[in-house]
């Protein structure tokens, strides 16, 4: 299965380990990733709230590139996913808006035709590849690993355009369990990690993250698994920041955070490289042993 690979901005700059794991597991699962030459920033939620039309034009431009490649897009980041999926849906449904956006795109010789789909890793693995094939690729299943998934806000919201109520969460649960780990229930599983508030109001961001981490710890998880790089950063670095800024000496979370792709990679029997292991602020040695 071939996809136009949309990496977004955050992963190449700050989490190359996410990308490297995806590239390693893709061929084993029959996924071929094709570079999107000239792709621009997806224009995440923050831009949508400043200028709606600019956001749509930016998202449309990426969709056009994929259209020209004749492929669907696979994203790794929830924000990119939301932006492209939402943009794609609106442009397909609303002719007036589509015409306006195409006027803007005409300046760069592009036209949105509505011929591509925007997907994310969870979509692709669950729907296109299928749980069966994923399970077949598992060579080293986990033994007794309790995973708290962080689906992230934009995997499942807004409900209208994402696949079904809570289905995104279920999909990720099922994918995690193909690896032999258990995807546990915990309070606030669907809630936000606090990431979007980083840099705007750090205090509130940390407070939200703390609520999440407290709930995960209360549920006795061994580790957290994310699909969104923002959630990953917020929950991984967040543990250190909370410890520092809230000065909670007793509150030692010690919850390793992994990208789902990394979890899958380990379960598929591949070794993580030294730098990939070090990229996790909270050490993942425990996970590697289970």
């Amino acid at each position: 299965m071939k996809y136009a690979f949309f990496l977004g901005c955050l992963i190449p700059a700050r989490e190359p380990n996410y990308e490297s794991s995806v590239r390693k597991i893709a061929p084993e699962l029959g996924i071929e990733l094709v570079e999107m030459e000239g792709a621009n920033c997806c224009a995440p939620f923050s831009i949508q709230s400043v200028d709606h039309m600019s956001w749509l034009a930016l998202a449309a431009r990426n969709l056009c590139i994929a259209e020209q490649m004749g492929l669907d897009i696979m994203t790794l980041c929830n924000d990119c996913y939301e932006s492209l999926l939402m943009g794609n849906t609106i442009l397909k449904e609303d002719k007036e808006i589509r015409d306006k956006v195409n006027e803007i795109l005409a300046d760069v010789g592009l036209e949105f035709k509505g011929k591509t789909e925007a997907k994310t890793l969870v979509d692709v693995l669950h729907k296109d590849i299928g749980l069966g094939k994923v399970k077949d690729a598992i060579k080293r299943p986990f033994n007794g690993l309790q995973v708290a998934i962080q689906p992230g806000c934009h995997l499942t919201r807004p409900k209208r355009i994402h696949f079904g109520e809570w289905m995104g969460v279920t999909a990720l649960d099922e994918l995690v369990e193909t690896t032999g780990a258990k995807s546990i229930a915990y309070e606030r599983k669907e809630s936000c990690c606090g990431g979007p508030l980083r840099g705007i109001n750090d205090e509130v961001a940390q407070h939200v993250a703390k609520q999440k981490l407290d709930a995960i710890k209360a549920a006795s998880a061994d580790c957290i698994v994310t699909v969104c790089p923002f959630c990953y950063l917020e929950l991984d670095m967040g543990q250190l920041e909370i410890k520092r800024h809230m000065q909670l000496k007793e509150e030692e979370y010690d919850l390793p955070v992994l990208h789902f792709a990394e979890l899958l990679r380990i379960a598929m029997g591949m070794e993580l490289e030294d730098w990939e292991i070090r990229a996790h602020r909270t050490p993942i040695t425990r996970v590697l042993k289970m």
Partner: protein, 590 residues
């Protein structure tokens, strides 16, 4: 933040430069009401003795613990004000400047009201940052009073002697068995026609006998690490590896004469086509005989190709070897883009020597531009007086060389004045080729982290202002390693590099700016991106964490921007300080 900020704001009129556009008293009044500001005043020239004294006085009188000067550019005056603040017993980094001249009054001369508002904004921002400034300490290291000079040519020997005479210990290494470099192999030098031994001989004698110089021949640099004042070097000598610890390094490893590829002007195809270097050897061995004619062709392999002078920097990273390989490959086909400066004089010198040995020999020099500069015009005249013929040819049509049945050579060129083809039957053709950088220089440059220009020579720190310094503190360059030069120019640059190096060693300590990078080790994951991106080699990953050698750090901020975990921040330019300025700017004015 330590204590309650007590900011003093000093606004400068700069004569009429600022005061003629901006309502300085008005801005001062405004500044005095800003949060954190204890005192505000204005003066005609804050940088004058009177102005500086007023700052010192105000600091004492009002117990100021932060100082903001709103005036001209920090590029020229930051150091001055920092020192003034220091004299008033305040840490010099508790000082911030707002540029309300170059960035305000000068560029908004015709809009005084708007300029005044902007000046208020700039002052408000500076005050906001000032409230968050913290005292900093400038890193200081000892400088070892020994120097390593790489290359014992005339430049290297001159530099070594200059430093040794001042009492510094010099380790002078030379890759060949004998010191003297390229000049040693020359016959006579222009414009005095002194024998090269008259220049090289005394220098060699002096370096061999000087008690402060250790001359090591057949020796190369294997490894270099450390930083200014404290370089650790490993030298490969005939008796094994040797370690040394020096305070400064002078790179003087020279350049080589370019040998044209086989076939160019029939070089290495017809025996009677030689380079000027080879002609020099012939003259030295007195092997010339009495040829009927010699033709010299200028700019062989020089001034070729179009290289833009703006793209002059290439950093010694993993791609440099690739870059130089590309350049060398191109050069093999086209030649080097630069003018090698000395070849015109060199040809004239050899022409004169030929005439002196064999006055009846007709010497013809084919040239495009004859670059005889300085008072060497007299030398050029001397050649013309000896009836050396200078023929300007059309360079775009390279001369053709063929062999005649009698075993002589035919040189066909196009005379620029008449536009006609001219043919010379000649016994010998001498090709004037440029000096080119040594290939081994790439490795040396990488070891020392000195950049190389696109022409392949080592890069000086600033093409105009710092001709013998490099970007790396404590490493200097002399001689042709940084571009073609004649003997006197090489000697002068050797003296200059030694002078600059001896400043560091003479002062025994060296200090740098405190604006350096700071690593939060808890956040650092040891990915090494900082080490890779730093142009100055300051960060080093040790035990899985990044350690910044502050003495090397220039505060450029590249590492802080690159770090994927935001573990690096810049002292004196922290995110929180800059964001405070942004907030102050966007806050309602007035």
């Amino acid at each position: 933040m330590i204590e309650e900020p007590r900011v003093g704001v000093f606004i400068c009129h700069c004569g009429v430069n600022i005061g003629g556009v901006i309502d300085v008293p008005g801005v001062t009044e405004y500044a005095s009401k800003l949060p954190g500001v204890t005192h505000a005043e204005h003066s005609l020239y804050t940088c004058s003795e009177a102005g500086l004294a007023a700052i010192r006085k105000a600091i004492a009188e009002h117990s100021l613990n932060r100082v903001v000067v709103a005036s001209c550019t920090p590029r020229t005056h930051e150091q001055l004000f920092r020192e003034t603040v220091k004299e008033a017993e305040l840490n010099p980094y508790l000082f911030e400047m707002a540029n309300i001249r170059d960035q305000c009054s000068w560029v908004h001369t015709h809009e005084p009201e708007k300029a005044t508002e902007k000046a208020k904004d700039l002052v408000r921002m500076a005050v906001a940052k000032a409230t968050l400034l913290e005292p900093q300490t400038e890193p200081e290291v000892d400088v070892k009073d020994a120097s390593l000079v790489i290359g014992a040519g005339v430049a290297g020997m001159t530099a070594a002697l200059s430093m040794a005479n001042q009492g510094f210990k010099v380790c002078l290494i030379e890759r060949e068995k004998e010191p003297g470099g390229i000049v040693r192999r020359l016959y006579k030098l222009y414009p005095t026609l002194a024998r090269s031994s008259e220049v090289v001989g005394p220098l060699v004698k002096a370096v061999k006998s000087h008690r402060n110089i250790e001359l090591m021949t057949s020796t190369t640099l294997k490894e270099a690490s450390g930083y200014v004042g404290n370089f650790n070097v490993i030298l490969t000598t005939p008796n094994g590896d040797k370690e040394a610890n020096v305070g400064t390094i002078i790179v003087a490893c020279g350049a080589l004469n370019y040998r044209p590829p086989q076939g160019l002007y029939q070089y290495k195809v017809l025996g009677k086509v030689v380079t000027q270097e080879e002609l020099d050897g012939i003259l030295r061995r007195d092997d010339l005989g009495k040829p009927e004619r010699i033709v010299m062709i200028q700019c062989v392999g020089a001034r070729k190709g179009e290289i833009r002078p703006s793209a002059l920097e290439a950093f010694p990273r993993s791609d440099t070897a690739e870059l130089l390989r590309k350049i060398l490959k191109a050069r093999k086909e086209e030649g080097w883009p630069y003018c090698s400066r000395i070849c015109c004089m060199n040809a004239i010198k050899n022409a004169i020597l030929v005439k002196e040995k064999s006055p009846k020999t007709d010497v013809v020099v084919l040239y495009g531009d004859l670059r005889v500069y300085k008072e060497y015009e007299d030398f050029y005249k001397r050649a013309r007086d000896l009836e050396v013929r200078f023929v300007r040819h059309i360079e775009e049509i390279p001369p053709e060389i063929t062999q005649t049945p009698e075993g002589k050579l035919d040189v066909a060129a196009y005379d620029a004045l008449s536009g006609l083809e001219v043919k010379f039957k000649t016994d010998l053709v001498a090709l004037s080729t440029p000096l080119r950088p040594r290939r081994g220089e790439v490795l040396l440059a990488r070891m020392l982290k000195v950049p190389i220009g696109t022409d392949g020579f080592l890069m000086e720190a600033h093409l105009k202002l710092r001709p013998v310094d490099t970007n790396v503190d404590g490493v200097f360059i002399a001689g042709t390693v940084s571009g073609p030069k004649d003997v006197s120019e090489s000697i002068i640059s050797g003296e200059a590099a030694a002078a600059r190096a001896s400043i560091l060693m003479g002062n025994k300590k060296v200090r740098t700016d405190a604006i350096t990078a700071l690593v939060d080790e808890d956040l650092c994951i040891g990915c090494g991106l900082c080490e890779e991106i730093c142009p100055y080699g300051a960060p080093k990953i040790e035990a899985g964490k990044s350690k910044i050698r502050e003495i090397l750090c220039r505060g450029c901020g590249s590492c802080a921007a690159e770090c994927p975990r935001r573990a690096i921040s810049m002292r004196h330019f922290g995110d929180h300080q800059i964001l405070e300025q942004v907030k102050a700017l966007l806050a309602p004015a007035g």
